[in-house]
Amino acid sequence: MSTTGAAIELRGVTKTFGGTTAVANLDLTIPRGALYGFIGPNGAGKTTSIRMIMSILFPDSGELKVLGRDSALDAKDKIGYLPEERGVYRKMRVAAYLMYIARLKGVPDKGLSERVSAYVARVGLAGVEGKRCEELSKGMLQKIQFVAAIIHEPDLLILDEPFSGLDPVSMRQLREQIIAEHARGATILFSTHVMQQAEEICDHVVMIHRGRKMLDDPVSSIRSRYDPRALVLEPLDAGADVAGVRALAGVESCERHEGAYNVELEPGFDVAGAISRIAAALPVARIEVKRPRLEDVFVQIVTDRGDSADAARALRAELADQSPQAAI
């Protein structure tokens, strides 16, 4: 196993529960200072992988290094972790809870109270330090839990589904905090089944499905690799005849869809040239490249790897249930 400056290194990590393989032969390298999205549908193996990275679970086989150590147990004070299943001591006061977690993370007592107040204010909750945790709303608690994950200024921050259950305003605040932590220099591994969130925050995406890694690339690379060959066409006259468009060279199909037309181009055809020719053939109100949705990429990868069409459809339906449509 190499000893590069990676924040997280997994080599051939496998974990089974009884007869179920949760994670199979997973290789993963996350460089220091990166912001990685760890995506996949529910049950894909994301949380199990994260728990192994955190040394909460231990792999059946494979090698694992976290911040250069063989076990996260040796580096827990440098890791911030917001688990998917998170909770607090409901009877404890907010400040006492955060101070307790901070002390467990090795933060010295000196100035701890002030640090707690500053972090609580940073997430927009100044003044709640004296309240019992049970008095806070779910969204407020989630912010407190995020503070508990970052109060010791970790080198590595692992966030498992950090946005679940948050309203849009809180979601935006939390996104800003994650970006701020990244800007501070923390390496961030961010797990979600909502692919749009990964796209908005991360610069690199790891896709996992049924415990196996399906994709591990920068978002920009994914964009170029899964180059679009579909356009969205909205004629100036909604009732205009699009037969001329269908007859253009390189156009495979032109089908009406939700008040506009989906124009499919032949593989390898020049997109810019097609746009010019369509605009010349028909007065258009709007014509643009239809950017591929992340879930499309995901389903395509799954299908390419041999899953049946039915399995791919089921996966697409599952992803559609879980997330708003996301485009890269």
């Binding site: 728990r51 955190m54 040394s55 909460i56 679970l57 147990l73 827990k76 004070d77 890791i79 911030g80 972790y81 688990p83 299943e85 998170r86 909770g87 607090v88 001591y89 409901r90 009877k91 404890m92 307790y100 977690i101 002390r103 467990l104 993370k105 839990q145 508990a148 994950a149």
Partner: protein, 446 residues
């Protein structure tokens, strides 16, 4: 180590500084105090209670009825009856009978002929008479005073009472008839009952305990109660905090705070911190009770009767029992989702902890018996067994105490090893609660 202490400190503070703990800690001594004040009034004799009504007697001997008549009907003062009972039964038991009887009875004696139809007489008991209720029918056996010719055995009597009869009335009537039969027997033989009583009575004396410091009157039952008191302290300490470990572990697991903790500490650190914190809680409670016990002994000038070497032994055996039971409780807490699911896994442990209570009497009475020795070497009850023997009137040899401690340490190592394996896996397991077989599989897999 500092993380372990942090966890221990939080467990201690979160438990000790709660109203529930303070109330729980004080409730036992409070109950004892209140009962010592109110108990005699609640359970003692009612001075206003008097047996009043009719007692039917069928007396084929013709000798018992006059005795009964003179004792009960002719306005014999309660003091005379008390004297009779005391003379017959001695101060100790007679006193309790008198207490049960309360005020002197106001009975009307209904004499029935010897050749009566018993069924008709029984029917008399079912006749309601609000002014003078029908209390009982006593049928004296023909040989109650004199044996039948050719026999030596004396007879007794049959007593019939209506349904829902007050037990105090029944006891009073039984006592009166019994006294009357005894009186008739004495009279029939021309004996002076008072003289016989005097001759057959030797007053009970109080022994004197000779100690190194000074001789003092032996306190009845002290050596009997002392092992029980020590076992109670041990049981309270182990079960009180064991229960706390179980519930806090379940709470942390069900509230999902456990994964946050596991991101900061290892399962072993978490387990060690919780064990230490709850051990400190139990030690606090035990110290308070020990201090209260010593204060009571001092107030009754019994301080010198206690062997103070027992207190360090209590602490040693507490630590052994606590780590054994406490770690297993945590294992159970980590494996289940709520208290209801914990019950089935707790059952074997609860049954084990009942064993010392069942064996308290035989061990205290015979601390060197094979049973006592075996129990004091058998974890996890060895701590209880050995402490009972140490506090008894005949403590075991020192080598047995050290052997029991050594076995206890091995028991602790085994229990903590088993519990740590279950704890590590169980904490993140949700859904169907495991059975014992699953726990064993977890231990193998961990």
């Amino acid at each position: 180590m500092s993380k372990v202490l942090q966890i221990a400190g939080r467990e201690f503070v979160a438990t000790v500084f709660t109203k529930a703990f303070i109330i729980g800690l004080l409730v036992f001594p409070a109950i004892v105090g209140v009962m010592s004040l109110v108990g005699p009034k609640l359970f003692g004799p009612d001075p206003n209670f008097a047996i009043a009504g009719q007692l039917a007697v069928v007396d084929p001997t013709g000798e018992v009825t006059p005795e009964l008549h003179s004792a009960l009907i002719k306005g014999t003062p309660a003091a005379d009856l008390a004297a009779v009972i005391r003379a017959a039964q001695g101060e100790a038991f007679g006193g309790s009978v008198l207490s049960a009887l309360g005020a002197a009875p106001k009975l009307t004696l209904v004499e029935r002929p010897a050749e009566v139809n018993l069924e008709q007489e029984k029917a008399w008991l079912r006749v309601e008479d609000k002014d003078s209720p029908h209390l009982a029918l006593a049928v004296i056996h023909a040989n109650a005073v004199e044996p039948k010719p050719g026999e030596t055995a004396l007879g007794s009597y049959d007593l019939y009472v209506p349904p829902k009869q007050d037990t105090r009335v029944e006891i009073g009537v039984q006592q009166a008839v019994r006294e009357a039969i005894i009186g008739a027997r004495f009279k029939a033989r021309g004996l002076d009952r008072g003289q016989v009583n005097d001759l057959s009575t030797v007053p009970r004396v109080r022994s004197v305990t000779v100690s190194d410091s000074a001789d003092r009157g032996t306190v009845g039952g002290f050596q009997f109660v002392l092992p029980l008191a020590f076992m109670f302290l041990l049981f309270m300490g182990v079960m009180g905090s064991g229960q706390g470990l179980l519930t806090t572990t379940i709470e942390e697991k069900s509230s999902r705070v456990i994964e946050v903790l596991l991101s900061a500490v290892s399962p072993m650190q978490l387990m060690a911190g919780k064990l230490l914190g709850h051990m400190a809680i139990s030690l606090l409670a035990m110290s308070l009770y020990i201090a209260m016990g010593l204060a009571v002994l001092t107030s009754f000038s019994l301080f010198g009767l206690l062997n103070f070497a027992l207190i360090p032994y209590l602490l040693v055996f507490f630590v052994l029992a606590f780590f054994t039971i406490g770690s297993l409780m945590m294992a159970v807490g980590s494996a289940v989702n709520d208290m209801r699911e914990a019950q089935s896994l707790m059952l074997p442990m609860t049954l084990l902890l009942i064993v010392p209570w069942i064996l308290w009497m035989p061990i205290s009475r015979d601390p060197d018996s094979t049973l006592s020795v075996v129990v004091s070497f058998l974890p996890p009850v060895n701590s209880f067994g050995m402490l009972l023997r140490l506090a008894s009137s005949h403590p075991p040899p020192t080598w047995q105490v050290w052997l029991s401690i050594a076995i206890g340490v091995l028991g602790v190592v085994g229990a903590v090893w088993f519990a740590s394996k279950v704890f590590r896996i169980g904490l993140l397991m949700f859904g169907k609660p495991p059975n014992f077989g699953t726990l064993v599989r977890w231990v193998r897999d961990a």
